[in-house]
């Protein structure tokens, strides 16, 4: 095994698959090397773009493909690129968001460790589309191996003329910097990320101005997730129509899902958007059912920032609209499965601790509210809850939701609100009986 991570993927199953593409080569141990990447058609898209396409055409193609941001918000990628002012005299920046720190999510890491060139190629095409000559890959500091692989790939790309001055004789110059984080979830939020590159604390900035107008060093800036960018070379190579032919009307293409928690076969799986969550959890090629033969209690479908789904909602297509309809969000694609012996209060306590720890501290409701929530939830978990605590939680959550600078505030409260709604009895039980409703025991 020469992979850094033993994580399971569905690469083998999709080998030669005409549609699935992001994971096509992730089980190839040499894919991270430029030589192998080129053998597999690497940098062809970049050559096409530089040789034959105008920036507007690239944007148009990506727009047409229906690609939406895979970092969490699902914003159409081509549209975002088109927001960069055409006539601005300022330089532009493209930032690849490789901060992957949404709990439950570990897909970008696989791409970076095993297929780093596709990330660079996607970045390069995005950079060209917006007229950027210096792009950054912001990788979370803990990902030493991703950093190493991306840096190595970058050096190779430079040495073979895929990056640098006058690339492929096109006259286009493009430089790249790998900028590493240092332990802050907020640096995955796009304005926190920009601040972090600038040398500031990773605090959010108010919007507007949106980064596309005024971002890094007050210049037009595009922030895209690793997975979003990795899809771009494929779109260029095979065409927008091909990409559109996958997924659903409004959620085109494929998406990586990280399946974790109480599941028999945790792993990263590439599926078309619209794929059934039920199938992802139970199909033998994917999750292969709940671990220890237990019953399903809840699913967090898109990383811990998204509302919990009850088992009756699990038969839902994994696409942006359907999950919103089901009362949650597609988010980052981190599907976390909780079996019947999981205490909801304990789970929420884990999450709120995380959010409190990661709140940047800029705006009052999130900074003060997350701490307050944690204290109340801890109290309930410890069996010291009071009769008015649930109402208090409702009210505090309400006072944070939609009132903060960045979405972290919302992210912190939406999961709580969903459990207060769907598992209120269990919360109540915890307060009244001073203990869990279930018999939780996650031994090791």
């Amino acid at each position: 095994m020469t992979f850094y991570s033993p994580v399971v993927t569905n690469a083998k199953e999709i080998a030669g698959h005409e549609k699935l593409h992001l994971f096509e080569y992730v089980e190839d141990e040499k894919q991270y090397q430029l030589k192998r990447y080129l053998e597999h058609g690497g940098y062809a898209a970049w050559k096409t773009v530089l040789g034959k396409m105008k920036p507007e055409e690239v944007i148009e193609e990506v727009k047409k493909s229906g690609l939406r941001g895979r970092g969490g918000a699902g914003f159409p990628t081509g549209m975002k690129w088109s927001f960069v002012p055409k006539d601005s005299p300022k330089v532009r920046y493209l930032l690849c968001n490789a901060d992957e720190s949404e709990p439950g999510t570990c897909k970008d890491r696989v791409l970076m460790e095993r297929d780093p060139h596709v990330v660079i190629e996607g970045m390069a095409i995005g950079a060209y589309a917006i007229g950027c000559h210096l792009m950054f890959c912001y990788i979370r500091g803990e990902f030493h191996h991703s950093i190493e692989r991306i840096e190595k790939a970058m050096e190779e790309a430079y040495s073979k003329g895929h990056l640098g001055k006058n690339i492929y004789g096109s006259g286009y110059d493009l430089e790249m910097i790998v900028h590493t984080g240092a332990g802050a979830y907020m640096c995955g939020e796009e304005t926190g990320l920009i601040n972090s590159i600038e040398g500031e604390k990773g605090m959010a900035r108010i919007r507007p101005p949106f980064p596309a107008i005024e971002g890094l060093w007050e210049c037009p800036t595009i922030v895209n997730n690793v997975e979003s960018l990795a899809a771009v070379p494929h779109i260029i190579n095979r065409g927008a129509d091909w990409y559109r032919s996958m997924g659903t009307e409004k959620s085109a293409g494929t998406k990586l899902f990280s399946l974790s928690g109480h599941i028999n076969r945790p792993g990263n799986y590439e599926v078309e958007l619209g794929f059934s969550l039920q199938k992802l959890i139970y199909d033998a090629n994917y999750g292969n059912g709940i671990s220890d033969g237990k019953k399903l209690k809840a699913v967090i479908p898109g990383g811990v920032s998204t509302p919990f789904l009850t088992p009756d909602k699990v038969d839902v297509p994994l696409d942006y609209e359907s999950l919103t309809e089901a009362g949650s969000m597609l988010g980052s694609g981190g599907v976390i499965v909780l079996h019947e012996d999981t205490c909801i209060v304990w789970t929420i306590l884990k999450l709120i601790k995380f959010f409190r720890h990661e709140s940047c501290g800029k705006c009052t409701p999130c900074r003060e509210g997350t701490g307050w929530l944690e204290q109340i939830i801890q109290k309930i978990e410890d069996g010291r809850g009071g009769p008015d605590d649930l109402e208090k939680l409702d009210s505090i959550c309400g006072n944070i939701l939609g009132r903060t600078i960045c979405p972290l505030g919302d992210a912190a409260v939406m999961p709580i609100q969903s459990t207060l709604k769907h598992w209120r009895d269990e919360w109540q039980y915890h307060i009244e009986h001073k203990k869990c409703l279930v018999n939780q025991n996650f031994g090791f």
């Binding site: 907020m186 705006c363 009052t364 003060e368 307050w372 006072n399 600078i405």
Partner: protein, 852 residues
Amino acid sequence: MAEAVKEKILAVATITCTIDGQQITVPKGTSVFYAARQIGIVIPAFCNHDKLKPVGACRMCYVEIEKMPKLQVSCATTATDGMVVSTNSQQVREGRKAVIEFTLINHPLDCPTCDKGGECDLQDLTFSHGYDDSRFGFNKMRFIEEEKRDTFDDLKIGPEIVLNRNRCILCYKCVRANKEAFGEYDIGAFERGDLTEINATPGGEVSNPFSGNLVEICPVGALTNSDWRYKIRVWLTKTVPSICNFSGSGTNITFYKEDHKNFVYRVTARCNDAIDDGWLSDITRYGYQIVNSESRLKTPLIKKGGKQVKASWDQALAVIKKHMGEIKDQSGGVCIGGLISPSLDNASLYSFSKLFRTIFKSNNIDFRGDYRYLPSVTDSPFTIAASQPFSIADIEKSDVIITFGTDLIREHHNEYLKIRRAVNFFEATAYSVNPYAVKTADIAKSEMVYSPGTDELVINGICLAAIEKKLVDSSAAAKLKPKISKLSLSELTKQTGLGKEQFKELAEAISSAKKITFIVGEIVARSLERDKICAALSNLNKLFGVQDKGQLAVLSRYANSKGAQKLGLSATPYEIVKAELKKIWGEYPDCQPRNTDSMINLMKKEEIKGFITVGTNPMRLYPDRGFASEGLEHVDFLVACDMFETETTELADVVLPLCSWAEYDGDYINLEGKVQTGKQAIKPKYEAKAAFEIMELIASQSGVKLFENEQSRNEEIEQLLSLNSVLPWPDDFLEIDYDKKSSRDDYPVPLFICDDPHHSGHLTEKSPSLLNFSDSAYVELSKGMAAKIGVADGEPVRVESPVGKIVVPAKISRVLNSDVAIIPRNFSSTQTTSLLMRKKRVDSVKLTRVEE
């Protein structure tokens, strides 16, 4: 931002929106917050500040906007056409309540023990917008630092500032103001989330020259200062609008006073956008403390048997009458001279002039006691340059700002902050051109450091570069070229140490500027060659048409320097002033005018026998202490009026206690020519009197009245002030001759003696707070210079000039990058002006490490 971009977009476009049912039209770009304010709706806020960029952190300023489901923060939301805003809907009120609740959960509820009580935004907004009770049942987070713990967990983070992190509501205003408005990096926000804490830079303290503002803008009792805290409750004080007596621009201030104790408790800003934007330098903020000082002169003193003893006013005046009378009778009024401080009010200055010119019949007066060897000429290029119009507000409107020969942070605080604002908010480009690297150049696009003593060559270089690059009118170029071409551009680069590129950059900046501000400061004004430099500036002004598209002036440094000029307080007033005085008085002495330097010279020759100083201390400030003391010690009869005992009063035969500016109403003319009134805050302390009263009393000894009454005095002043006092530049380009620099290798290091950034002149060392920042002399050196002589920070250095020698500790500068020595003149404990020679263009010294 609304405020910030106001000026620039004023002319552009407007939008109309509806706020609480009222329609309002505002410039495009205005935030909802300021749009509402324009119709009198004050939206509650913590983190917003008129002069800082909005950050939307506190979330107090919510409004509801039609078609937007979520509450929006009005400070960071731009008003748009057709927007319908509600600032007081049910949802808004609930939103605010929630924010107050969040803010209070970790905030101590002990307002009675907090110094901010009574003027705390949080207290006020809790009353008007918060809940009555608390739903938070947990222990509040507390910051406790064992070693440094003080009462109520207060932490001293600077010479003046006390921090209580438990009270901090993290509006970040202190940190933002410090970085954004002042360019200072000594207070920060550390850690993150609810552990975030404000604190000084690790290992450092908050001691920048604007640090007092942080206390004033803190909305709660998290930052307080030792000056004010726990001395009195704010509601027991009364406020008086006034102006600062230490700045040339007349910073607007408010005195807080208490009548029974006849005491001034503090000074805060009284925001005037045209001058100060509501920011005070620490000198302005804490300098007032000298008013309350115990060490003030309490009664007149007269010399008896070589010792000064207490006397009554009558006794003192009788002595003055006797001696001045004798001198006048025996030798004539021309043997009496006087020097007055340009920080005094119009009435005092004018009375002084009238006393000398109509009673003593003497023309020996001056107000420039700290400018070496000023020739007595009415319209020298320097006088012309110093008379030019200037507008502080126009700095913000300029796209190019050049500061030349000025160490702004020691000379002109308000102007410095305006420049920062112009650069940070309005995208102006600044250039700093100085004989040594200055702190304030951090906002400059380029900083150019030239060899000391080559000032006019730098100006010539800019002109030549413009001519070479054909950036200026060719016929003007042809006329000027021969007059400044003794040295070619490449020779100029050798002399000045600047590169051709730099000359070119400046030439391009000036020629391409749409609106320019060109500030010339004290380094030029104090130079022996001030006229030559200003002649070069005259050429530059003409060549580029600088004033046609902006402003160029030597800025005056003191609270009423402009008043002194306009009222004719120099020995050689402007011709029109002189004519007017003649008209008013019906007389004008026809004896030779003598300015400071020649008066001191005449003292030595015993041609000046009687001398009066008012509020000024030539023994300390004259840039050649040896020369000044030799003169003053020779004077037969010396009268010194001051608030304190000084090196000059020590020598005096009669010492008269002078009022501070806080003790009477006075008019002052700032460097823009704007007349402002400094209002009386308290009754004169002890037996002090205002200078104008003293002049009247001295006159009355001769049985005459200077003025019928106050009104007639003011009318005379009015008459003078109505004159146009801007002198025209010469019509032609001026020849700038070139003298070779003589450098003496035994004294290799150029020396600049100037104000400490926390002091101004000779009085501020009586302010305990300012002493806390800086209390004794030092020699500021670059890292390289210090290394050359082998001293570390704080180690003693012997500083020797051909005429003097002092030993002071080294202060290693993070800014200086060349071999110069900077020494303050503000401390009586070290007579630093003893190093200076009045006829030297660039003083220079030898530095050696003192072996212990």
